[in-house]
């Protein structure tokens, strides 16, 4: 068998033979230039390799990656200096006639609103409240989006809110229980923990324990339960242990959490 025949069989194994090559291979087999029994044995073995399993990596692998990524992002933030000269040059470059006119109109409107509102603190507070409310609406709408990174951003926005309402909390709890992304769910736990003084959040977090499939999310919930001192969570963790098969490290984590909570 020569190199060309070998390449033909390799292409056959990958399923990339053209019609012409298929005919060529059939002719070679018919003529005996390629041994049919050998060829079938190789094909069978190639198919059989599919049964070889690869064990799943440990949850620590994912943790390590996200820790490394967070470090790198932190470094990026620290090193990205602000070049004032470059900023001014960029701004000047971007200024056009219509933009100038638009800015002027905005200035007039701003001046008018400013003079009308004056130093009225109530109105300023009202404006600030409206801004907060808009931010909450934006967060809720982003949480419903299809992109995991947008949903992560939404969860991060929630952690910037000075206060939050029932609707935002319900959206976060819904995300915690239903979001397909493990990372989003973990970030949501941290965001909800900020509102841990509210009964609805505490109850929602506890109820979520038995709904979670991912060990990483369960571990994150365990940490929050300890942080918030939610003793009622111990019962839910016991239930989880009885209902589900958990990995060794998660099992240990839960046992430790129960011990701390009780």
């Amino acid at each position: 068998m020569n190199d060309k025949h070998e390449q033909l069989i390799a292409d056959y194994l990958q399923g990339t033979l053209t019609d012409k090559q298929t005919n060529e291979l059939e002719s070679l087999i018919e003529s005996g230039a390629i041994d049919f029994i050998d060829f079938k044995a190789i094909e069978h073995l190639h198919d059989e390799l599919e049964v070889l399993p690869v064990p799943a990596p440990s949850p620590e692998m994912r943790n390590r990656f996200y820790e490394m990524l967070a470090d790198e992002q932190e470094k990026q933030k620290q090193t990205s200096g602000f070049d004032f000269k470059e900023f001014i040059q960029k701004m000047l470059h971007q200024i056009t006639g219509p933009k100038l006119a638009y800015a002027f109109v905005l200035l007039i409107i701003g001046g008018f609103i400013g003079s009308t509102i004056g130093n009225n603190n109530d109105q300023l507070e009202q404006l600030s409240g409206e801004l907060e409310s808009m931010r909450q609406m934006m967060m809720i709408s982003m949480l419903e989006g299809p992109s995991a990174s947008d949903r992560l951003r939404a969860v991060n926005i929630s952690s910037q809110l000075a206060e939050t309402d029932d609707r935002a909390i319900r959206a976060l709890l819904f995300t915690l229980n239903n979001d397909p992304s493990e990372n989003v769910r973990i970030q949501t736990i941290e965001a909800l923990a900020r509102w841990g003084n509210q009964d609805v959040v505490r109850e929602g977090l506890i109820k979520s324990i038995t709904r979670q499939e991912s060990d990483l999310v369960i571990v994150a919930l365990a940490d929050v339960m300890v942080e918030l001192g939610l003793q009622q969570a111990a019962g839910e963790f016991e239930k989880l242990k009885n209902e589900r098969e958990l990995t060794g490290s998660t099992q240990t984590k839960i046992d430790n959490t129960i011990a701390v909570l009780l």
Binding site: A10, L52, P57, M68
Partner: protein, 179 residues
């Protein structure tokens, strides 16, 4: 990856979710060591960040990623000066698997064991071609780019690897059935 290159590092998380299992499988099939495979996956993503500026987006991302993976694997053994470790580990593993217990295993488990030993017995280049082609679904041209050889050479390697596997599997099957 272009977004990561542009500074949106959070996008690397999406690449991780998509490709980490594949990379882990690649390393595990090469080394049979779970912890080392995890370390090497981490190393690949660290290198992706470190060398993100070198990514041009011209070729496929998978090719670029597996090229980094391949280098990470080679560097690991060079740094540790343990180029022969594969052979030693193979010997240990084969010794560790009690042949006397094979009679109690079902035939399917025994067959898997034989197939794994046969793949381990291939030289690194051939093993890599089988892993990338059969398990990771890469095309021969992509593997050729990763290994720095021609596509024809990869096809020949694939065929010869399969032929060697067939012979080793036959030998091992006979050995086990004689025990």
């Amino acid at each position: 990856m272009m977004k990561v290159k542009d500074g949106q590092l959070d996008k690397l998380g999406l690449l991780y979710e998509r490709y980490s299992s594949s990379l882990y499988g690649f390393f595990y099939r090469k080394t049979k060591q779970p912890q080392l495979s995890e370390d090497l996956v981490q190393s690949v993503f660290e290198r992706m960040l470190k060398y993100r500026d070198t990514y041009t987006g011209d070729g496929s991302f998978t090719t670029w990623m597996f090229s980094i993976a391949r280098n990470a694997h080679i560097d690991h053994y060079r740094k540790q000066k343990r180029l022969r470790e594969d052979e030693i580990l193979d010997e240990e593993r084969i010794q560790g698997e009690d042949p006397s217990g094979l009679g109690e295993q079902d035939l399917r488990a025994q067959r898997k064991q034989i197939l794994e030993q046969a793949i381990d017995s291939l030289d690194e280049d051939k093993k890599e071609v089988v892993i990338l082609s059969r398990f990771e679904g890469l095309r021969y041209q992509e593997i050729a780019d990763i290994q720095g050889v021609s596509e024809s050479a990869v096809k020949v390697r694939m065929f010869r690897a399969m032929k060697e596997l067939k012979q080793t599997v036959t030998t091992l099957t006979n050995e086990y059935s004689n025990e």
